[in-house]
């Protein structure tokens, strides 16, 4: 059975077509979900694509947080469904408190659009299970507010519980600290993407969905998209995703 994966479309989303293509390349059936609807149309995973939802007014992602579709996404996440936010989608998830931390303005103040190298931290999560090996993955970033920030207690918890899924890497393969050349935005501890404590919601700033075919310059992002698709199929078949603990948390505080 082909996994059905929802793509949330806000006014101002602009990577939705890339996400659509990536999901098709990865063997899924993409389903576009309009921001004013609370009907997730029976999808078994959700991808929140990049862009500038609601113009990024006030703070990137914050207006989107209060949209009808995000209420449905929050319920879906609480029930254990896999959710991946990319770039602006990560900002939306952070503002919605579905993943820990916040994305601040880039340390260099500029919008940064270039290729980065990304180190996957764990290879057994719903978002990295198809990545294959812990090697630097080449894909683009394109954002003005991508500087990952969390307070010390949150950072400690992330490191302790394996909550960091991707870090920026320097050309020599080492983790890129805030001031290193491999770090495009000053993110603490080189953090490019994290997941929630339950493990079924993740966000990252780089764009795996635009690096899924050799003709795009890199297909290193395909493993991440395929991971989501495999997790969607598993969730559809079993009602749970391996590598997560949402079952024990179901019914907890939103």
């Amino acid at each position: 059975m082909t996994a059905r994966v929802g793509i949330v479309l806000f006014p101002g989303s602009n990577r939705d077509i890339d996400a659509l293509n990536a999901l098709r390349v990865a063997g899924a059936e993409p389903v576009v979900l309009w921001h004013e609807s609370v009907d997730l149309e029976g999808v078994s995973a959700i991808l929140i694509p990049g862009g500038f939802a609601y113009g990024d007014y006030l703070r990137a992602g914050v207006i989107a947080r209060f949209s009808p579709v995000m209420r449905a996404v929050a319920s879906f996440a609480e029930a254990g469904g896999p959710v991946l936010g990319i770039c602006n989608g990560f900002q939306v998830l952070a503002e919605a408190r579905l993943v820990p931390g916040a994305l601040l303005r880039n340390r260099g103040l500029r919008f940064v659009c270039r290729e980065v190298a990304l180190l996957p931290e764990h290879l057994d999560t719903p978002f990295t299970r198809e990545v294959g090996a812990r090697r630097p993955l080449r894909m683009p970033v394109a954002h003005g507010e991508g500087c990952y920030y969390a307070d010390d207690a949150t950072l400690d918890a992330l490191e302790r519980d394996g909550g960091v899924l991707w870090r920026y890497a320097n050309p020599d393969g080492s983790v890129a600290g805030p001031d290193d050349p491999g770090n495009p935005n000053g993110s603490l501890c080189g953090i490019a993407g994290v997941r929630n404590a339950a493990g079924n919601v993740a966000g990252l700033m780089p764009h795996p969905e635009t690096a899924v075919e050799a003709i795009l310059g890199s297909d290193d992002g395909l493993g991440i998209i395929r991971s989501l698709v495999v997790s969607a199929a598993e969730y559809a078949a079993t009602g749970a995703v391996s590598g997560t603990s949402t079952r024990t948390l179901a019914g907890g505080a939103a």
Partner: protein, 86 residues
């Protein structure tokens, strides 16, 4: 609802102490070009002004506090204060 009295507020949102504020830093670095010395700790925030109609000033203030903490600021990285403008 239009019979309720109107209260005007300003919400000032600033980056928390200790949070890197690259905008503030950029402003500060530009000051020597203006020949200005002795200015430090520049922090850039935002100000939102709004009118609330509510039964009384306390109720209006409650509405502003709620929307300031849930929407206008992100408590992970920002502080806010509320000013009554009358």
């Amino acid at each position: 609802m239009s019979e309720l009295p109107a209260y005007r507020f300003a919400v000032n949102v600033t980056p928390k102490p200790g949070i890197l504020d690259p905008q503030g830093r950029a402003v500060e670095k530009s000051l020597p070009h203006l020949g200005i010395a002795g200015v430090s700790d520049v922090r850039v925030g935002r100000r939102v002004e709004l009118t609330v109609r509510a039964a009384d000033a306390t109720a209006a203030r409650g509405v502003v506090d709620k929307l300031a903490s849930e929407l206008l600021s992100n408590p992970l990285m920002e502080l806010f204060d509320v000013e009554a403008l009358g």
